[in-house]
Symmetry: C2
Subunit: 232 residues, 2 copies
């Protein structure tokens, strides 16, 4: 019945416009009562984004199932991919909704509040992982926000292409940029420490030398540093 | 009259609560008519954030007055400081509003939409600066979002401290983190090219060697790379 309500709602939104469609119109087309609608959806906005609550719950559970072995920036990137997967499950529905949301200010506001909740879920996880470190909360907030921005940049470019092309590859590329910008020094340090093994952790005087082409973009230089540190 | 309306509105919001206060209550206390209210404020939400439109206009003008000599990431950080300045101009009002906004979901939604507009202003500037470069739009969106997140992290910590302490120093520190994460390779390259002068730009085979303490955090390594490139 939930799916039937979503289908009826979208048929009407596309035919008449979102503002011109009432909940009564939707339940009449779906052949159910008003109470059934509100059992599934608190408001008309919610029928436009029927899967975000489930996706937010999945993301929270995914992050809660992390352990200290997960590199935190990579982990939030993987968590963000859950959102992409939800959109990619049903490309034509996602593209329709994207077009609708662009036209209706109320839906854009709703979407901003959903995006904010995803971002907070990622930030809370990172805050816990960075707890006790200098600028832990600041880093957590900035990285969560950068991950969401990269994910949404890629998601929107896929939606604008009418859901053609490889959404996963686009998102992977975008998230790769964020991962290189916030390359995880602590994780690299941990990798180093396990690499030196019985010799004990390196002294602060130890050096890493990175040689890079002068024309290389900085993010690539950072990536090389990470690789060097991990190999060290 | 505008200031009188804001003062009357906040007095009532604090006494009765935001939801319990009507525009009629506000104009009655301020001793003006309803039309005067709506001449200044499109809605009740707008009286809570009376200075954002001016600040957005200032930010847009500030960014429009940039030239190519401005390092783009630094420039958007400086643009974000305009928002801080607006809050810091009137600490007690800003703290009152922060407490009010936390309690009223409608105001939080409004605030999200304002934050989104600041973020888009920064992103549009960066998109233009990065135009034609690989991943220009992606980088622009991610950096704009990171700048806003850092600014807001610092702003909120200042507001939570009841507007005590040095707001500028807190925001400078937060924005410094973003600047180091997104150290601007293209600007550094431009600096290099002007430094080599008559010898022409460096060939792609030229190398930069970075030597860093192994225990140094990655952002500090990046900062050193930037300095090295600028000095080169």
């Amino acid at each position: 019945m939930r799916d039937a309500l979503v289908a009826a709602a979208f048929r009407l939104f596309l035919e008449r416009g979102y503002e011109q469609t009432t909940v009564d119109d939707i339940v009449a087309l779906a052949g159910v009562g008003r109470r059934s609608f509100f059992r599934y959806f608190p408001s008309k906005e919610d029928v436009v984004f029927p899967d975000h609550e489930r996706c937010l719950a999945d993301m929270t559970a995914y992050l809660a199932a992390s352990d200290d072995a997960h590199e935190p920036v990579r982990r939030v990137c993987d968590a963000a991919r859950l959102v992409l997967r939800m959109y990619a499950e049903n490309p034509s529905f996602s593209v329709q909704r994207y077009r609708l949301t662009k036209k209706v200010p109320g839906l854009r506001a709703y979407e901003l509040s959903v995006v904010w909740r995803y971002e907070r879920a990622l930030a809370e996880y990172l805050r816990a992982r960075f707890a006790g470190r200098a600028d832990g909360n600041l880093r957590a907030d900035v990285i969560a926000s950068a991950v969401v921005a990269a994910h949404n940049n890629a998601l929107r470019s896929w939606l604008r292409s009418d859901g053609q092309g490889d959404a996963s590859a686009t998102v992977d590329h975008a998230l790769g940029y964020v991962q290189s910008a916030f390359a995880a020094a602590p994780a690299a340090a941990a990798a180093r420490e396990s690499a030196v093994g019985a010799e004990g952790p390196g002294s602060p005087e130890d050096v890493v030398v990175v040689v890079a082409r002068r024309g290389a973009p900085l993010w690539r230089v950072v990536q090389e540093i990470e690789t060097a540190l991990a190999r060290d």
